[in-house]
């Protein structure tokens, strides 16, 4: 094994991990406020990535330029999903969980079907900024680096939003204690819609970034639901630091197995990591007990 190769793989893995972290953040925001695991999450990521690929091909609009549009489009889609489909879920915890899982499951396959009808089943990727910077014998692929930096920027921006704005504090209050937040006069219904808008917007943004660094077809969506969910679980629900560590680890796993095994096993990695995490480390690596 060459040391340089290993370093290269580590860098690629970590850069990919940044985008995973962003995707997972979207899922986490939604889960925090609504207690709904949005099974259509990965499909929103992939639908955006596919759209970016086609727009780039046809009109030469780069994914970076498309990023604001993706964010807004995702937010609109999220608002629609929450308002039209999830508004009248039963409040009873058990049936709420059931129904929301089944509905988002249905939505996810609706989106798979839609993507298949529009984009066909071909694998796509955006060939933009394909060269790299060489620093001391190590390649920093430009697209990956840019995607990573933008992902961290968006995540940081979201952090500021959640921490220091009134709306952000209301969102966090709703995710910590629903009844308490309601008592304080926070409109829970609005917070739920907002969390969906925010979560799906972030999913779409990570899809736009991902479009440059990954190959995908409509079927890849469930992979991203699971990747995002594993990252959230790895981090422990609600722990953002843990989520970033988790995303880094998952990125490393995909990059190493993809290189030393083969690409098939590379794409199997998210599932395997996911199941292992659930079975052996359901409280996350940084060890906050998961509360459900």
């Amino acid at each position: 094994m060459h040391v340089e190769l290993v370093i290269q793989l580590i860098i690629n893995g970590l850069l990919l991990g940044g985008v995973f972290a962003l995707a997972a953040l979207g899922l986490n925001v939604i889960f925090g406020v609504t207690r709904i695991v949005n099974l259509a999450h990965g499909q929103i990521v992939i639908l955006t990535a596919l759209t970016c690929a086609v727009i780039f091909q046809r009109f030469g609009i780069t994914p970076i330029e498309a990023l604001p549009g993706a964010l807004i489009g995702g937010a609109i889609l999220g608002t629609l999903i929450e308002r039209l489909l999830l508004r009248r879920l039963p409040e009873h915890a058990q049936s709420r969980e059931w129904t929301s899982l089944l509905i988002t499951f249905g939505v996810s396959y609706f989106l798979v079907g839609l993507s298949l009808a529009i984009f066909s089943g071909d694998f796509r990727s955006v060939a933009y900024l394909t060269d790299s910077w060489h620093v001391g014998g190590i390649d920093f692929p430009k697209a990956q680096l840019l995607a990573f930096i933008l992902a961290i920027l968006i995540a940081g921006f979201l952090g500021i939003l959640l921490r220091s704005t009134k709306v952000g504090r209301a969102l966090r209050a709703a995710s910590q204690n629903l009844d308490g937040a309601r008592t304080c006069g926070i409109d829970i219904g609005r917070m739920r819609t907002l969390s969906f808008a925010l979560g799906c917007g972030i999913a779409a943004a990570s899809g736009a970034l991902l479009s440059m660094v990954y190959a995908y077809n409509p079927d890849t969506g469930s992979q991203f639901t699971l990747i995002s969910f594993s990252v959230v679980v790895l981090g422990g629900l609600g722990s953002y630091a843990g989520a970033i560590v988790g995303a880094g680890l998952l990125g490393l796993a995909v990059s190493f197995v993809g290189f030393y095994g083969n690409t098939h096993f590379g794409s199997m990695m998210p599932y395997i990591v996911f199941i292992l995490v659930l079975l052996f480390r359901p409280t996350g690596i940084l060890g906050k007990p998961a509360t459900t």
Partner: protein, 317 residues
């Protein structure tokens, strides 16, 4: 009570009619009814773990796939009879479901649902890669496939599934499952051995798809990962159980009959948008008829019955 007898009588007529179908010698009708039987059977299998025990699984296709591949490999490499291989596949999945159940059923809600989905997907990718299972090219089964044999096999498995569900619906075991669906911790406190109950339910809902998958492989005469570990089959199964009513004896049957007809006409008219329509259908059903057709009807009938009982008393007072 009378309603139940009526239901079983209707079922008997229906099963007898389907047993006659191969006599007509019409291949097209045979294949239509075969697909309905297949999906209804799958819906019954799914209904045990997800409907009665309340563990939503999006990965029961795993067992369907293993069953199909056991038949494909058994008939090509070991030149065994297909039905023998299908039985072995069923037994293998039952055995596999025990340790798998102990591991996976510790997970709850979305964790279990996604865990099973992940399992099915990784198995599909593994089947795609490993040469033993024929990789992405798949396996051509030896000649000698007979649609009528598979048809009766599937009908038999469906009857088995219905009998099993009828037993669960009435037995203490079924009560235990429903108790843990409503509140697992409370059920445990009341002395229900929740772990072994749900593992048993998991095993039962693994055997049925495995047996059906074995027949399906022999019917298709060709297996390949994406058509066997098919998300469309999974999706359609779930949609049928929801339409009819999860956790009920008649739900999968009603859902199966209605939906396979819809599905057939959809897939011939709009083959491209099959997934899309089924996804949308699940969502619409859950919003419009969240508990399914069967509970909605039986509730209405019960209301009428209690109303009829209540009326004479009202007259007295």
């Amino acid at each position: 009570m009378n309603l139940r007898i009526l239901g079983f009588a209707a079922l008997a007529v229906l099963l007898l009619a389907s047993a006659m179908v191969p006599l007509s010698g019409n291949g097209y009708i045979l294949s239509l009814v075969y697909i309905s039987l297949l999906f209804t059977g799958l819906a019954y299998g799914w209904n045990i773990i997800s409907g009665y025990a309340g563990y939503l699984s999006f990965g029961q296709i795993t067992f369907f796939g293993i069953g199909a591949y056991v038949v494909a490999i058994g008939t090509t490499r070991f030149h065994a009879e297909w039905w023998l291989c299908a039985l072995i596949g069923g037994a293998f999945c039952a055995a596999l479901a025990v340790p798998m159940g102990y591991l996976m059923l510790r997970l709850q809600g979305p964790f279990f649902a996604l865990g099973m989905l992940g399992l099915a997907q990784s198995l599909r990718i593994a089947t795609d890669t490993i040469p033993f299972t024929g990789g992405a090219e798949g396996i051509y089964l030896p000649p000698g496939s007979n649609a009528v044999h598979v048809y009766y096999w599937t009908l038999g498995v469906l009857v088995l599934a219905i009998v099993l569900t009828a037993w669960i619906d009435r037995s203490a075991f079924g009560l235990r499952l429903r108790a843990l669906r409503e509140d697992e911790r409370a059920a445990g406190t009341l002395g229900v051995d929740t772990t072994s109950s749900k593992v048993q339910a998991f095993v039962l809902s693994a055997i049925i798809p495995a047996l059906l998958g074995g027949g399906y492989a022999w019917y298709l005469t060709y297996v390949e990962p994406s058509s066997i570990y098919s998300t469309e089959i999974e999706l359609q199964t779930v949609a049928m159980a929801i339409l009819g009513g999860m956790g009920t004896l008649w739900g999968p049957l009603v859902g199966g009959i209605l939906m396979s007809q819809v599905s057939e006409s959809l897939s011939t008219r709009f083959p491209q948008t099959h997934l899309m329509i089924f996804g949308a259908l699940i969502v619409i059903l859950l919003i419009a008829l969240p508990r399914g057709i069967v509970p909605a009807i039986s509730e209405r009938l019960n209301r009428k019955k209690t109303a009829a009982k209540a009326r004479p008393q009202e007259a007295v007072t």
